[in-house]
Amino acid sequence: MTMFLRCVSAEFSKIFTTRLWWILAIVLFCYIGLLAGSLAALFAGIQTGVISPDAVNTGGGSTDLGDLPSLIYSFASSVGYVFPVLLGTLATTGEFRHQTLTPTFLATPRRGLVLGAKTVTLILVGAGFGVVALAASVGLGGGVLSAFGVDALLFDSETWLLVTRTLLAMGLWAAIGVGLGVLVPNQVASIVTVLAFTQFVEPLLRLAASFLEVTAKIGNFLPGAASDALVGSSFLNLANPSASLPLDWWQGGLVLLGYALVATVIGYAVSWKKDVT
């Protein structure tokens, strides 16, 4: 056990002795802050009549945005989730790229232990990214809502449930990043996979799946959909209000955990336990 804790401690040290973590954290904060702040202004403006509904092209959809604060706050994970994935992927593929697996495995020859420690570490740091993202979405988004006179629901238990689940989701996304990193150890290929899947493939799949009830049920098990189910709110659900009911929050969490475990276990077999040359 002490060996595992030493490994976790060493993995923390690896992350915080390079610049990547704070660069990603700053970009995450700015990105989510900008998005949550501006959309909070837009939606709150519509809701309070500051912006005339006639001035907005709603695409024939409803202007009922449901629970506006939750929607704004959920940008932390529904948009920000790619950041912990990237951190996890880079933390793993960097070991291959810079050949630091050699000193790592010399110091700790038990490779499964090292991978487990890396996963635990990244879950915690991913949750830390969740704190940064929530500071942007709740801090800036909530601030804008209040400025428009919309109740930001900061003392509502639902809001704090959402915050807690967002931290959990961000941690699990970082673990998925670690899994992807061992599954695709080539750093460039891994990053391209993350960006292509999260920014392009999955959103399209979710949209396509939403047209039929049976595919919509399957679409619920896509990682992004599972994450949104775990957190409990997402702007992507606005696009397909006719979709079948999403998964329960705990089901979404288990689906995410499943993705992380499957990727990590397969990755362990295909790359992590192989010869280090």
């Binding site: 060493a10 040290s13 050699t102 000193p103 495995f105 010869d275």
Partner: protein, 300 residues
């Protein structure tokens, strides 16, 4: 002073795909001595060392430290220190942070980091990012990593590559000191001349197989002695040698006669009344024996 351990290779073989990189390699390395692990590039030295350190799985055979495989050592970094050829650093990390990570992982006191950096002469560059290091500085950092746990066994792969002359002199003394303190020191090189001044024993491999094992002096054989002889009247000298039944070839500095006896040649020339300008014995050096063992050294 940490005690050395006996390194044992037992019938180690490794195939990559269908190609045998190492074949049935067996030898032992004793504490208190510097052992040179020699062979041309591609002979299987690095693969053998990575098998010893548990980084590469052997196809068959075992490699152990006092009978224990690397991955079963209770305190690997305190038992064995290894510096491998590859530059295994994150370029964005400082030397201090790099070593700090592994000191934590191995449960070593953080004070060791500056101690080993001082020992290898990198203390002044401890907080510089490794990406800006020269090849020689990276070699020293690799060595600092090997020393982190103050181990009784040192396994160094091509530690002299990339060092400046001052660094080479330093590491030679360093290897001697380590062995004198009772440690086991195994150091690989593709050039015998690089390590000839430091090693006690040699293990020579070529094409993945053991070709020679023994003290350095065992290489000092004189199997094909030659004597260089020359004269202003080279034709006359050549005719005299031919008449005496001594074969020769024409070298850059004279005739290379296939005899180890200069006195015989001097006498023949004296009798024939030929003036000699050169007469000395050409001793086959360590390097020649080494090259003969590894197969002509065309890959060197």
């Amino acid at each position: 002073m940490p005690a050395g351990a006996v390194i044992e290779f037992h019938n180690i073989s490794k195939r990559f795909g269908g190609v045998a990189a190492v074949h049935d390699l067996s030898f032992t390395v004793e504490p208190g001595r510097v052992t040179g692990f020699l062979g041309p590039n591609g002979a299987g030295k690095t693969t053998s060392l990575r098998i010893l350190l548990g980084l590469v799985a052997a196809s068959s055979g075992t490699a152990t430290f006092d009978g224990v495989r690397y991955r079963d050592l209770p305190h690997p970094l305190k038992t064995v220190g290894a510096a491998l050829e590859a530059a295994s650093f994150h370029p964005g990390r400082s030397a201090r942070s790099h070593l700090g990570v592994y000191a934590i992982a191995a449960g070593l006191p953080r004070t060791r980091v500056m101690e080993v950096l001082t020992q290898v002469g990198l203390a002044a560059h401890a907080d510089q990012r490794v990406g800006g290091y020269s090849l020689g500085m990276r070699q020293r950092l690799g060595l600092a990593y090997a020393l982190l746990g103050d181990p009784g066994v040192l396994v160094l792969d091509e530690p002299i590559n990339g060092l400046d002359p001052e660094g080479i002199r330093w590491i030679r003394g360093f290897l001697r000191d380590m062995a004198a303190g009772g440690r086991t020191v195994l150091v690989s090189s593709h050039l015998l001349s690089e390590v000839a001044q430091s090693v006690d024993d040699v293990v020579i491999i070529a094409r993945g197989e053991l070709v020679h094992l023994g003290p350095l002096s065992s290489l000092d054989t004189d199997a094909a002695p030659q004597t260089i002889v020359d004269s202003p009247d080279r034709e006359d000298l050549a005719a005299t040698l031919t008449a005496a039944g001594i074969s020769f070839s024409i070298g850059r500095t004279g005739l290379l006669a296939s005899t180890g006896d200069p006195a015989l040649l001097g006498h023949l020339a004296f009798e024939a009344g030929i003036e000699l300008s050169v007469l000395h014995r050409q001793k086959a050096g360590l390097e020649d024996s080494f090259l003969a063992l590894v197969g002509g050294g065309h890959s060197l």
